[in-house]
């Protein structure tokens, strides 16, 4: 157990640069590092010979904290994992607990969860492309895409009462149903989002500077991407058509027709194209879901799972007791362990949940999609120029909250 503490990689030292190489430190507070990642580079001129990525600057003790709160109290924490696609996180977590309990939610809830998850995917990709375009100098695109995101935030605000941290899902249901005007509002917003995406598309896709920065940079082979357990748009850009929504459909994803865009070069440009197309597919899914969504309840009827309606809490003793017990002790899944994967903005978002039969999780592990991506970042940028780091890092879409939890 006695291992020497060393921050630098093996055989590295800050002084040992006698062979013409230079050690260069990027971050953690660096405009392109999104705040909180440090990359130590060993460079020869402008070429990167070796890179060491250091993380942990946003480690907030998520997993430990969750072992000390009830199952439903975990939900606000899950919002802050991937804060650009919060709905996917709390839907994924709720699905994991429901799998552990062996229950299913009503149809309407499943559709509502799909709709909100896809809106989250849109906000995720818009933020990723907007920020990464800005870092490459295309400031206008940032404004277009963030405006589209702003419209989507208003939708999520209307549904969940929160723009970024909605805490909307619950074990066995959702906090509130979609508002009456939701379908009409969504149609209006999508019109604007489509226009904004089309603008960005026209500004970027055939732009020679953008092409020059993205094409052929941050390349990774299919084999390496699989071995590094890349998932999501970055894996698909390398030619592997793996998407949890198709491979093991959860909720009602098997009832929609949508395509999984796949690249072949495995470079930053393909990642950009994959994300751009995924946004259009997400809107397709939402539109189909809004047509198919049935009327009915949104919460599981069991008193031991979701809070009883308020009129019953005030009117009968059983509901009152259930309300009290659920609030103080939380839902109590049987002892056991499950792994539930959903397709997050960056790829497979997995929740590994161990229950000991009490109201608090014994162990909650999150498999964050951008963890493996960031682990592979050193490999992506090796051999390239320092300037390519900006493009690669932007397309990795590193999100500190889920990376370091």
């Amino acid at each position: 157990m006695e291992r020497p503490a060393h921050e630098l990689p093996k055989n590295w030292s800050l002084e040992n640069a006698g062979d013409g190489r230079l050690l260069l430190n990027m971050g953690p507070s660096h405009p392109a590092m999104h705040g909180i990642v440090r990359i130590l580079l060993s460079v020869e001129g402008e070429r990167i010979k070796d890179a060491d990525v250091e993380i942990g600057y946003l480690h907030r003790g998520f997993e430990k904290t969750c072992e000390n709160v009830t199952y439903n109290q975990v939900i606000p924490y899950t919002d802050r994992l991937n804060y650009v696609s919060p709905f996917i996180n709390n839907v994924g977590y709720a699905l994991a607990v429901e799998k552990l309990m062996g229950i299913e939610t009503p149809e309407r809830c499943k559709y509502a969860r799909v709709i909100m998850s896809e809106l989250s995917r849109l906000t995720d990709h818009l933020t990723c492309l907007g920020a990464s375009a800005m870092e490459l100098g295309a400031f206008t695109v940032y404004f277009y895409l963030i405006n589209a995101r702003e419209d989507l935030y208003r939708l999520t605000d209307a549904v969940a009462g929160g723009r970024i941290t909605p805490a909307w899902s619950r074990v066995g249901g959702i906090t509130r149903d979609l508002p009456d005007t939701f379908a009409a509002d969504t149609a209006a917003v999508f019109k604007k989002v489509r226009a904004n995406i089309a603008d960005a598309d026209r500004l970027l896709t055939r732009n020679p500077i953008f092409n020059g920065r993205l094409r052929g940079t941050g390349k990774i082979s299919r084999e390496d991407a699989v071995s590094l357990a890349f998932t999501g748009p970055v894996l698909r850009a390398s030619g592997v058509p793996y998407d949890v929504r198709k491979a093991s459909p959860y909720l009602v994803y098997d009832r929609f027709s949508f395509d999984i865009p796949v690249g072949d070069a495995g470079d930053n440009y393909d990642r950009y194209l994959v994300r751009l197309e995924e946004m259009r597919q997400s809107m397709r899914i939402v539109e189909q879901a809004l047509k198919q969504i049935p009327a009915g309840p949104v919460n599981h009827p069991g008193y031991g799972v979701t809070l009883p309606p308020k009129e019953e809490v005030y009117g009968n003793i059983e509901a009152l007791m259930a309300h009290f017990k659920l609030t103080y002790e939380g839902v109590k899944p049987p002892a056991g362990e499950v792994y539930q994967a959903v397709e997050g903005g960056n790829g497979e978002l997995g929740f590994y949940l161990v229950s000991d039969g009490t109201g608090r999780p014994w162990r909650l592990r999150v498999r964050p999609p951008c963890f493996t991506l960031t682990a592979g970042l050193g490999r992506l940028i090796k051999g390239g120029y320092i300037a390519d780091i900006i493009a690669s890092f932007g397309q990795i879409n590193m999100i500190g909250g889920e990376l370091e939890r």
């Binding site: 157990m1 093996k10 942990g56 071995s227 357990a229 499950v338 162990r363 592990r365 682990a375």
Partner: protein, 158 residues
């Protein structure tokens, strides 16, 4: 090769080294004896086609002995099969063979498990802390590490 029942195949191959299997809620799980960890993983990867090491993490079951578990989730992208592989490790000296030779993704996963639980991975090329800082003492996700234990604030190092 398509395999109908992964757990049976694994048991047939490894015999008594598979300590326990279950399929709670449809998740195939195999508990492997620690000494057969690498052998089982290599068999699953090379023979049964589990090309993704989706996740690897530690878990602490204090006061049970063996106290620690290392849990990994494998995925086969051809057959869409998933498998959970676990090894139980003693509390006094938790160590296990590293999977870095089989999957590249094992590198950071194992560093995190070392950081959070203090599980020593033999054969890992560069096992050091990932999320916490160097001078941090202990392993925070262990059950006997208090949630709110604060350590002295560190100074900036170049």
């Amino acid at each position: 090769m398509p395999v109908e029942n992964i757990l049976e195949t694994l048991k047939a191959k490894l015999g008594g080294k598979v300590a326990e299997t279950h399929a709670f809620r449809g998740d195939d799980t195999a508990v492997i004896a620690p000494e057969a960890w690498l052998e089982a993983a290599a068999f699953l990867k090379d023979e049964l086609g589990f090309d993704f090491l989706m996740d690897l993490c530690g878990a602490d079951y204090l006061p049970r002995e063996p106290r620690f578990e290392v849990v990994c989730h494998l995925y086969n992208s051809k057959t869409n099969a998933r498998l959970r592989l676990k090894a139980r490790l003693p509390g006094a000296r938790p160590e296990l063979d590293s999977l870095t030779g089989l999957w590249l993704s094992a590198d950071w996963f194992e560093r995190e498990a070392w950081d959070m639980y203090g599980v020593d991975f033999k054969g890992h090329p560069d096992l050091r802390r990932l999320l916490m800082y160097d001078s941090f003492e202990g392993h925070p996700l262990r059950k006997d590490y208090p949630l709110k234990a604060r350590q002295p604030r560190i100074d900036h190092a170049d």
